[in-house]
Amino acid sequence: MTAIPLGVPRRLVEFTLDGQDARVPEGSTILEACRAAGKDVPTLCEGDTLTPKNACRVCVVEVEGARTLAPACSRRAEPGMVVRTDTERARHSRKVVLELLASSVDLSTTPSVARWIKEYEAKPDRFGPDAARVDEEPRVDNDLYVRDYGKCILCYKCVDACGDQWQNTFAISVSGRGFDARISVEQDAPLTDSACVYCGNCIEVCPTGALSFKSEFDMRAAGTWDEARQSETTTVCAYCGVGCNLTLHVQDNEIVKVTSPHDNPVTHGNLCIKGRFGYQHVQNRD
């Protein structure tokens, strides 16, 4: 069990959520209130260890009196607010946003999205066969991880994790503008020529599989990746004395990738290059 820091007691905010009274601690987002009430609001760019960027707009809800819809992931609940999460208007925006995304990038490795596309009856094909897509070859320029822009939804989570929210390496940023905007390193160079320190924290937060372990990428390409056959074991990293938690994903008795528990109060899911990628010695049996 992980220790949860208690923090300062917070006042409760009372507001109306889908016609029912809701009470959440001050500073909570509408999304947190929804989750507490057991409501399913779809989100793509929201991350449990990062400040929400609210860029995907799939979690929009209707706030009474507001001209536009509000992103549930980052709009904080205010006293007396009247929020509706499942109106025709909110559902319409979610549906169209899912269509826009699914028609422009490959969401096949994005968890839950297939379910939402079905639930909201989104039809990504209806923009026609000529609809612009981000069709780019995956960039394989190092042995540790792969960047696949064809799956990137520009949620900015990797940028935030690499930058001031966790790693402080600032190796990646968004370049360009509009539909041509891409996550990139300086001069759009290969990763090996960049400031990247290969901590892999960007992979940890990537919601779509646009960033993935080279091991996972290769196994997917070979058709051998099978999550049903994988087991997860959380252990302590043996490299130094900090004691970061590692979750080893093992398939057929081989470590196929390493993640870290997000609820760990020390690391919040972040690791360094050794913890994340330095596992080959474990399975080097010669």
Partner: protein, 643 residues
């Protein structure tokens, strides 16, 4: 931050361009030569707050490089990043955000040809093709077709920017003046090589003929002077004018002349009233923002003034980039001191000691005029530590935009000034609470601020008596398109669209009027009795926006116009949120598909447009995505564009 830099080095010229802005580097850690003799280097450290405080010099630094070299190389960007302690990846993200910068080599001279609504209607497509053919690849000039240059009254328009050494006398539209010091060789010393020996120059060419554009592109320093700003004001000299009264009558380069025409009486009154008194006057006058959102100015000022957090900032939004809008340009070129005075009053009322004037990068003459006006005001004690001897400190810094429509959005503008990508922030928190540099900020556009002067000189009741009860005061309109007298018009709120168009001598065969620019909406020729007020246009189901009135006669192909609007938004979307980033692309694709279709053949795509447009309006982060569908929707619904 532990920053990693590549091994690319800047050229001497690139280094000089950055050093001219930031001064020479102090240590090899920030890019000085490593000669092994400077023991101080071993004990040198700078970081933390000091480094963060210089981040906002990134945009001026990128401008310095682009102005001098014409593009931003890897070595140059790295050097700038070393000097400012900015991660190269972030600086690359910023440099690639703006349309006026290039991170790939390009010729020193770039000719921007506007292909937006008014200019296309006036033949910009043929113009750019013709100019490209005449210049040819050997000329060393790149022709770039781009969005509105804000010269709609003189369409078609072109702007030449030649990179070069700004330390040498440069010409801005025929007026020779030293931009900074005299570090280089004298002009006309026979060296005509591009780059280091060529002075930086800009030239505005409008209305542009192929001949004039080619001549301006090959020798921008010899380009004929731009017509006086007053020529953009058909009513110039009319004693009934309030906001435009000095345009054409007072010399925009003379502070004395400004004062002789009533300048600085409003500031004196402001000091007599005190900050709270000024806010009361502005509130009582009923002034609302003229940038398009129509938010009550007094309330905004009051909310900022009341914030306990300090410092407070004042930002003047002079990034007018809405296709069809040029009123702020005319005000700044024709009456620059009025803006300086109005900013001083706004700062005084809201408790700000520093004001940023965010000026769009495509306005060279406004930049020259305001730089001059601010320097003059500072020399005379009208800006600085002790404004008018009243013990109030205030100064203005000009920040130049670099070609991004989105930076007119208030929070995107803050990010741009701070040295980040010009992406809008989500609200709340609102700028009055957390704005520029996270501090309480009041942001007003140029026209809004200039309205403060008559409010203080004539008093709130007299000002509020102008216009209607809900829309008070005079209003500026930018009239262009199929009219014989295009330009900026001033009318009290409440005049009808028809009256305005009659003043501008609208041509026969009017097919449609675009109100409020690309983010506004079309109205029909039989709706000319719409009163030009916020409430009147709202009642008519349209918007006044920023005051754009573009008339199109029946020779203009409507579907082409709509396609251009869609193209504009796709091009200018920052890309942050999905509805706007992908929605604008899908909108343009659908309009391309139905470009020549009507009726049933277009119906499917029109339904698609409606659905995407609705989600863009509801779910986009900022006004750009929220309004990108307005004009197209109004053309379908009100004009029957595809019936």
């Amino acid at each position: 931050m532990d920053l990693r830099f590549g091994d690319s080095e800047p050229t001497d010229e690139e280094r000089a361009a950055v050093d001219a802005l930031l001064g020479p580097p102090e240590s090899s850690w920030e890019g000085a030569a490593r000669d092994g003799t400077d023991a101080a280097d071993l004990r040198w450290a700078r970081g933390g707050r000091e480094a963060r405080d210089r981040r906002d010099l990134l945009l001026p630094g990128l401008h310095a490089l682009n102005d001098r070299i014409g593009w931003i190389s890897e070595g140059a960007l790295d050097y700038l990043c070393r000097r400012l302690t900015v991660p190269p990846a972030q600086a690359y993200g910023v440099a690639t955000f703006y349309a006026m910068f290039s991170v790939r080599p390009r010729p020193a001279t770039v000719l921007h040809v506007c292909t937006d609504l008014a200019c296309t209607a006036a033949g910009a497509t043929d113009l750019s093709t013709d100019v490209e053919a005449r210049l040819g690849p050997e000329s060393g000039v790149r022709v770039e077709r781009g969005p509105c240059l804000g010269l709609c009254e003189r369409a078609p328009a072109a702007l030449v920017i030649r990179a070069g050494d700004s330390a040498r006398p440069a010409c801005e539209g025929g007026t020779v003046q030293a931009v900074r010091g005299s570090g280089g060789a004298a002009p006309g010393d026979g060296k005509e090589r591009r780059g280091r020996d060529t002075p930086r120059a800009t030239a505005v060419c409008a209305p542009a003929t192929p001949d004039a554009a080619v001549r301006a592109a090959t020798a921008p320093e010899n380009a004929p002077a731009e017509p006086a700003p007053a020529l953009a004001v058909p009513q110039a000299g009319d004693p009934a004018l309030t906001l435009l009264e000095r345009v054409g009558t007072a010399d925009p380069t003379s502070l004395d002349d400004y004062r002789a025409h009533g300048g600085y009486t409003a500031l004196r009154r402001a000091f007599a009233l005190g900050p709270a008194g000024v806010i009361r006057e502005v509130t009582d006058a009923g002034l609302v923002g003229r940038g398009g959102a129509a938010f009550p100015t007094g309330r905004k000022w009051q909310a900022t003034a009341a914030q306990p957090d300090h410092p407070h900032y004042l930002v003047c939004n002079a990034d007018e980039s809405e296709p069809g809008t040029f009123k702020d340009r005319v005000l700044m070129e024709g009456d620059p001191y009025a803006l300086v005075e109005a900013m001083t009053i706004a700062a005084y009322a809201t408790g700000a000691h520093k004001g940023y004037l965010y000026l769009r990068g495509e306005y060279p003459r406004a930049l020259t005029r305001l730089t001059h006006a601010i320097a003059q005001a500072r020399n005379r004690g009208l800006l600085g530590d002790d404004v008018l001897g009243q013990g109030y400190a205030f100064d203005i810094e000009i920040r130049r935009g670099a070609g991004a429509y989105i930076c007119g959005e208030e929070t995107a503008l803050f990010n741009s000034i701070e040295g980040y990508r010009g992406e809008p922030r989500s609200k709340p928190p609102f700028p009055v609470e957390k704005g520029l540099f996270g501090k309480p900020t009041v942001e007003n556009n140029v026209e809004t601020l200039v309205n403060v002067l008559p409010i203080l000189t004539m008093g709130a009741p007299a000002y509020a008596a102008i216009g209607t009860a809900a829309s008070t005061g005079p209003k500026l309109y930018c009239v262009s398109g199929s009219v014989d007298r295009p330009g900026v018009y001033e009318l009290p709120f409440g005049a009808t669209l028809g009256e305005l168009l009659t003043l501008a001598q609208v041509r026969a065969g009017l097919r449609a009027v675009l109100l409020g620019g690309a983010a506004g909406g079309f109205v029909r020729p039989d709706e000319l009795d719409i009163p030009l007020t916020f409430e009147g246009t709202r009642q008519a189901g349209t918007t006044l926006g920023s005051g754009v009135v573009m008339a199109f006669d029946d020779t203009v192909p409507l579907p082409r116009l709509l396609l251009r609007i869609a193209e504009f938004f796709r091009d200018e979307s920052c890309g942050q949120c999905v509805p706007c980033r992908v929605g604008t692309v899908r909108q343009e694709e659908a309009l391309r598909r139905i470009a020549d279709r009507t009726g049933a053949a277009a119906a499917g795509d029109i339904d698609l447009l409606r659905e995407v447009g609705r989600a863009m309006r509801d779910a986009s982060i900022c006004g750009l995505g929220q309004t990108a569908w307005n004009a197209v929707e109004s053309a379908i619904d009100r004009l029957g564009a595809y019936e």
